[in-house]
Symmetry: C2
Subunit: 377 residues, 2 copies
């Protein structure tokens, strides 16, 4: 059957794969098997009439320049997903994760599916408004380390806010440990930042890390909101991608997403292209900003996928707000103005060690803020 | 400092890694960096006195036979985890997932941490009691495919129960799709299996797939329980590992865990050893049985890790019940007696296509059940 391109674009979920075939493996067989494996999980001869409707449909297949690499596009009936983020992940990579040589490079999203997931509730404009910053890049610092008391973390949050950081967040390893229990930590850190704001006239946001047992997530978010927080921090692959979507939908908090565990899905030749997972799927699942390991830091991502992630976070998608790219993972304070030149002003920079190494947190923050103010439009 | 081995065993979480170093990379530097990256996320010179307490401690490091491979053991204060499964995942593989060459091979669990997570609530003995089967391997079939109506899936569940399968489960791609909505499907399938049990005097269990939006999981579990289900099916990496733990702790249902997405964490040289993730972590997180892709099926796992997974599911762990290994992913009905010889009787076999290919589901199930009955002790 020859599909109508408009039908595919508007009504089917089309997934673009890069397949690597093993010796003696046929790309046609691999693509067809993938389309079945991710849906009906039965060979065609076992399907009753009409049941093939939910199987993926191979729309195109062709060789890539590299040996053994093939480009395949497979379309799926969106009813195979329903309106369900865990099932979307399952359809994309559930069973095939256990096979080899399946890289998901891009997805054409039917607008109805995008609407079902909702995307960021604040996005770039909303987070700018919360932080009271227009026309320049935003700056975020982390309250560290795991093991410090809630009082000490709050003191550091206060110093960073006094230094003019736009956002101050919990380190993502701060969960509910006895050294700084969640409720005490959030109360103290938010108070310290509010006090600093009162002193400076600033609007620094404190973002607690929402993690911990799944049934308690909504309560933690509500506690943070009641304590005065307007934004929070979440690791969607730790708490479940749909856990983040639910927080975005109901908490009233703007959300920064951390890529903990994401590297498992970013292996060469098997998994997701970084710009698809971090730039598009995290955004669709409700992140107002997405942290990723910046090129040149402690992680091996090169500049091209980093710019790709930033691009996909901001590209127009029907009904979905743009989200902030948040380069992190070893960004040096003195390099931020140069990185703004690469990423543009609609970027949020997350700094850690680089500020702590200077000793005086407030002064380190001030110097950084001044250097970025000079880049403002 | 020279640590007391009893202190490490009883009080610290010890993680055994296989590190692959890149050209020019030092194994010492890599191990130390890992111990910091997964905890305090600061270089040592930025830590205030006492703050190094939460940093991982490299206990041993030595070369492996293979070039560039090193074995490292790093111990962590269990307070770095708290009692929190998302934070455990984060400590193990959160940030380092984004680096390269870090394979987690084994973990020595402090008994207090095991007690905090709880493990299986039924385990092998409890699931045997629910299914009314002693002294032989258990058999499970899947109701397929995605796209069939709830009535048709229920009809197939009934035929498989009439044929004597011990368990019949939803295919893991059956979520809340419009073709067979969750509540209708569960009600109809459970009814069909109960009717078959009344006819045969059997005790076949029907296991609905618990997935969908995170805030609705507990309600779906309660609905299944009210409908008469005693067990269910869950994909922990789709709904969040802690989502499964919470279901185990509160639903009253025995849980089979599906490895959807798990392949991302099982890459060679980076991630988790299959027997650790599927055999130990899934068990600790509450699975009464864990499905894994059997050797010789549609997935590339070889026999050695499969037997390793089975071993770790059943090995004594303080206060943690043993769980069923559930080989799947292309197990042929006629090969089951032979696989029982490899895995032993405390195994649950999950069959799909192999039964469907025979056309008459009831007759296919009967033949399989007869062949396995002959293996009983």
């Amino acid at each position: 059957m020859s599909p109508d391109p408009r039908d595919i674009w508007l009504r089917r979920l089309q997934v673009h794969y890069r397949l690597t075939v093993g010796p003696g493996e046929s790309p046609e067989v691999k693509a067809e098997a993938l389309a079945l494996e991710q849906t009906v999980e039965l060979p065609p001869e076992c399907l009753a009439p009409g049941e093939e409707r939910m199987a993926g449909r191979v729309e195109s297949l062709g060789p890539e320049a590299e040996e053994r690499c093939w480009r395949a596009s497979i379309s799926y009936d969106p009813d195979a997903v329903g309106e369900d983020l865990p099932q979307l992940l399952n359809l994309l990579f559930g069973n095939v994760s256990l096979q080899r040589g399946v890289l998901i490079e891009a997805i054409d999203w039917p607008p109805a599916l995008l609407a079902a997931f909702g995307g960021p509730r604040f996005g770039i404009p909303g987070l700018r408004e919360l932080a009271g910053v227009q026309g320049r890049a935003l700056l975020c610092a982390a309250a560290k380390p795991l093991g410090a008391s809630a009082a000490e973390l709050a003191r550091r949050c206060g110093l960073l806010a006094l230094g003019g950081m736009d956002l101050v967040k919990d380190d993502h390893g701060l969960a509910g440990q006895p050294s700084a229990p969640f409720h005490e930590r959030v109360r103290r850190c938010q108070e310290a930042v509010a006090r600093a704001n009162a002193e400076t006239g600033g609007a620094t946001l404190y973002l607690p890390n929402l993690t911990g047992p799944a049934p308690g997530l909504a309560e933690r978010a509500a506690f943070a909101r009641d304590a005065g927080c307007r934004a929070a921090f979440v690791s969607p692959l730790l708490v479940g991608l749909d856990g983040m979507r639910a927080l975005a939908a109901t908490s009233g908090l703007a959300l920064l997403a951390h890529p903990a565990l994401a590297g498992a899905f970013l292996q060469p030749g098997h998994g997701f292209a970084p710009e698809l997972l971090l730039g598009e799927i995290f955004r669709i699942a409700g992140a107002d900003g997405v942290i990723f390991p910046n090129a040149g830091g402690r992680f091996p991502l090169s500049e091209s996928p980093c710019l790709g992630i930033a691009g996909r976070l901001r590209v127009p998608l029907p009904g979905v707000l743009p989200a902030f790219p948040v380069p992190a993972g070893g960004v040096e304070a003195e390099a931020v103005p140069r990185w703004i030149g690469r990423y543009g002003a609609d970027t949020l920079f997350l700094l850690g060690s680089s500020l702590y190494r200077e000793g005086d947190l407030r002064r380190a923050a001030e110097r950084l803020v001044e250097s970025v103010a000079r880049t403002g439009r």
